[in-house]
């Protein structure tokens, strides 16, 4: 299996692109940490393991935060939270967005009832997209109280329109291809044709967007936690760590917000890079 991979297009493509390799590696690390995280953390993740605000040292590589909790341990445990939120919300948005996108694109140029549904879906998407994303997420989560569930719901809701539009665009193109006509002639119902035949061929751009959305979701979660409308303390979450650490940073304890911030940047970057390169890979006309 591995040898076949080495021979594949993907590997040949990736070999020349250190950015993609970097992205891939970091994504894998994140996923591993998400699975193993708290188990391999050297110190407890939500309980103090030493004095407050210890600078980085041999026993605490990234120092301790204001409650005395080891920062490295929290950073190791953070991907589980961030990725869970990002993955779950993005998946929900993906399923809903793609589903709606397929329907909207497929029926866009057909009979009247279909056209109305299709247009209706688009208008609703327009409306949702008019909302200021961050403020809206803030309102949803902030007013009901910080909790992981609320963040997931808010993020899922806000990301649906993107998947919807991308899928609809592709579906519009695929729809007019001959094999779809063929499928209908063969006796498939419209819906079946839409989901069984058109959709698989229209998934690629949405899948690509999946990766970048994850990165973006992580950033948004961090931002929400920063104002106290994200996950509840003492959940290990990078934005929350930055919020708590920010005040310490000003008074000279720079490690409290710097390391979580770096980890955040690197992770988001990795997801973006990976997704970006994947897009290039999947779209032959783009390749250089």
């Amino acid at each position: 299996m591995f040898l076949r991979f080495l021979d594949s297009d993907l590997w040949r493509f990736a070999r020349l692109r250190p950015g993609m390799q970097f992205g891939f590696v970091v994504v894998i690390i994140n996923l591993l940490l998400a699975v193993l995280g708290p188990a391999i953390a050297p110190y407890p993740v939500e309980a103090p393991a030493g004095a407050s605000l210890l600078p980085p040292s041999r026993s605490h590589w990234f120092g301790t935060d204001v409650s005395g909790i080891d920062i490295l341990s929290r950073m190791i445990a953070a991907p589980r939270i961030d990725l869970t939120i990002a993955l779950v919300s993005t998946t929900i948005a993906f399923v809903a967005g793609v589903g709606l996108g397929v329907i909207s694109g497929y029926f866009a140029q057909g009979e009247k009832p279909g056209r109305i549904v299709s247009a209706g879906i688009m208008r609703i998407a327009d409306i949702v997209q008019a909302f200021p994303m961050f403020v809206f997420a803030l309102a949803l989560v902030g007013l009901s109280g910080p909790s992981t569930t609320n963040v997931i719901i808010a993020l899922a809701f806000l990301n649906i329109p993107f998947f919807l539009r991308i899928t609809r665009g592709t579906v519009l193109q695929v729809r007019s291809r001959t094999f779809v006509e063929a499928a209908i002639c063969a006796g498939n119902s419209e819906l079946r044709a839409a989901f069984a035949h058109v959709m698989p061929n229209a998934l690629a751009p949405a899948l690509v967007h999946f990766s970048t959305t994850i990165g973006f979701s992580i950033l948004l979660t961090a931002g929400l936690s920063f104002v106290g409308a994200g996950v509840p303390p003492p959940t290990p979450e990078l934005g929350l760590m930055i919020q708590v650490g920010a005040q310490n940073m000003i008074t000279g304890h720079w490690w409290t917000a710097l390391f979580p911030g770096l980890m955040l940047a690197v992770s988001v970057l990795a997801f973006s890079l990976f997704g970006d390169h994947l897009r290039v890979f999947l779209d032959p006309t783009n390749r250089r």
């Binding site: 939500e46 103090p48 509840p232 003492p234 008074t251 304890h253």
Partner: protein
């Protein structure tokens, strides 16, 4: 009687040497408050000697720049945040009485005479003479002539009566205190002459003078000025007074852009003349930014900084951290509408499971002291003899088993997540409780949601910071926070102990004396053994200033009273 009168006059006389004054104080205390059936105090100067402003500094005319966390939602008692209290204290200056300033032990910082027995720590603010009847029901106040608001109008008895009428009408904080002092209606305030009024209370009130020493419910209003801004549909000028002040206090608001900035200027008619003539306030919501501003000397004062910022700032030579013992009571409050929390043994177990020392060390960096009674340590009759609790996991587990929970139980711990120290405390408490089998989930809530749920008693257990009793009296403290739950709005933990209820209710409506002091101690005992509140750390009053300012006065409202400050 005459001896006591003379002694009191001597006490007030600033030329009496300290040792003599100490002796007199002790003699009075020894004589017992029982002997003081009726008393008249006569004070030459309503502003005591300690901490007064040197004459040359009064002429200085400083400008002070401050970074606040938020604007006051209003400059009137319709809203209730720390910032509102702060503004009211600055613009209205407080009600008829005040606590006497006294040295705190630290140079340049003065405290308030809260620990004096009975009403000895209280003196006149706007009044220079006052009398109370033997039965504690009739109180006469003589306003000092010549007190002028920033608009130039003189304070008269009419202003006071208008203020109380408005208070009853607003049904807010002032009317609450009317009920606490058994003032049934504004008609019970008799205007004797231009400067004299007499309050006729429906029951004896031992704490009425201390109630009048507060400074956060707005007023007395310059009623002439306020009426100029009243309309037919708004006879009490509620609209105008939301953003403007009609006060006799040391400062006056000239600019108020909510959420951005405020500017106050000195009331040139206020005496003693405040050295600071202008206060410029910017609203800086982020505490990290506020800390940075102070560190770099860009402001004179930054409000609401958590202890960890203060620790770091203390190392900065350009910053002074002002500290004084205060009356805060942060606590863990099991809410007794929940059946597990209602069991005394469970609460005692939680008390033994609480990591007091760790909280003291990690959240407050060793500042302040552990609280051992419902009565703050600076109040009269304070005792710590009834408080047995220390962090002891074994005792906690044993008590849990006795209460019927050998395998622990699930606890939801709620708090206001905008207060950093509550969040940090909650994290430490969770770790310690988890270790004895109390499986704790933290429930941080936005401020408004927290307030609502707390007051509706919908929480299971809360970590709270919002209590600081003003009136230096155990009876009052017990009554306002833990009194009969069906009539006490602030009893958010639904503590309902019949003996306690009976004691605090009685204490609020009886004259001072030996009997009352005995009840005082019994109230503290019940509060300790029944542990409705698990007391945490009294962090003390702490404020951060640019170096150079001095003459800080601590007042039980825990605000900075800018009218005393000057540069050394």
């Amino acid at each position: 009687m005459k001896d006591i009168m003379k002694d009191c006059a001597l006490l007030a006389d600033r030329d009496v040497d300290p040792t003599r004054r100490e002796f007199l104080l002790q003699a009075l205390a020894a004589a017992g408050t029982a002997g003081l059936a009726s008393f008249v105090f006569s004070v030459n100067d309503a502003f005591a000697a300690d901490g007064s402003v040197p004459a040359d500094k009064s002429e200085a005319g400083y400008t002070l720049t401050a970074a606040y966390a938020a604007s006051p939602p209003a400059v009137d008692e319709i809203a209730f945040t720390m910032e509102v209290e702060n503004m009211l204290a600055l613009t209205y200056g407080g009600d008829l009485m005040q606590y006497r300033p006294q040295p705190s032990g630290t140079e340049g910082i003065y405290a308030s005479a809260m620990n004096a027995p009975g009403n000895e720590g209280v003196t006149g603010r706007w009044v220079d003479k006052w009398e109370g009847s033997e039965d504690f029901k009739t109180w006469t106040f003589h306003i000092r002539p010549g007190i002028k608001s920033w608009a130039g109008n003189e304070m008269t008895a009419d202003d006071i009566v208008w203020t109380w009428q408005r208070g009853f009408e607003m049904k807010a904080i002032r009317s609450f205190f009317a009920s606490a002092m058994f003032l049934a209606s504004p008609e019970d305030i008799e205007i004797v002459d231009k400067y004299t009024l007499r309050f006729h209370l429906s029951k004896p009130s031992p704490v009425v003078l201390k109630l009048m020493a507060m400074s956060y419910f707005g007023g007395p209003f310059d009623s002439k000025l306020a009426k100029e801004h009243a309309t037919a549909s708004d006879p009490w000028a509620k609209d105008w007074l939301k953003s403007n002040d009609a006060g006799f206090g040391p400062y006056h608001i000239t600019k108020n852009i909510p959420g951005q900035e405020m500017m106050l200027v000195r009331n040139e008619n206020y005496l003693p003349k405040p050295p600071i003539s202008r206060i410029l306030i910017r609203i800086v919501p982020d505490p990290a930014t506020r800390t940075a501003l102070l560190e770099r000397g860009a402001v004179d004062y930054a409000m609401r900084l958590p202890e960890r910022s203060l620790q770091a700032l203390a190392k900065n030579e350009g910053v002074t951290i002002v500290r004084s013992k205060a009356n805060f009571i942060p606590y863990i409050g099991p809410v007794q509408t929940n059946e597990i929390m209602a069991k005394t043994k469970v609460r005692q177990a939680m008390a033994y499971a609480t990591p007091f020392e760790e909280i003291h060390e990690k959240v407050y960096f060793g500042q302040g002291s552990l609280i051992k009674s419902i009565t703050p340590a600076i109040f009269p009759n304070y005792t710590d003899q009834y408080w047995p609790y220390k962090h002891d996991a074994d005792s906690a587990k044993a008590l849990l088993a006795e209460a019927g929970y050998p395998n622990g139980f699930d606890l939801k711990l709620s708090f206001d997540n905008s207060i950093a120290e509550m969040a940090e405390t909650a994290v430490l408490v969770k770790a310690a409780y988890d270790a004895v089998g109390i499986r704790t989930t933290l429930d941080p809530l936005p401020a408004a949601v927290y307030s609502e749920r707390k007051l509706r008693r919908q929480l299971m257990c809360q970590v709270d910071n919002f209590q600081w009793p003003w009136i230096a009296d155990t009876g009052y403290t017990g009554w306002v926070y833990l009194g009969p739950p069906d009539t006490t709005v602030n009893n958010s933990v639904y503590f309902n102990n019949p003996e306690f209820n009976q004691l605090v209710t009685k204490m609020m409506e009886m004259p001072l004396g030996d009997d009352r002091t005995k009840m005082d101690l019994r109230v503290q005992e019940i509060a300790a053994t029944e542990v409705p509140w698990i007391f945490l750390v009294e962090p003390g009053w702490r404020e951060a200033f640019k170096k150079g300012w001095t003459n800080f006065h601590w007042y039980p409202d825990n605000n900075v009273h800018f009218e005393w400050l000057y540069k050394a």
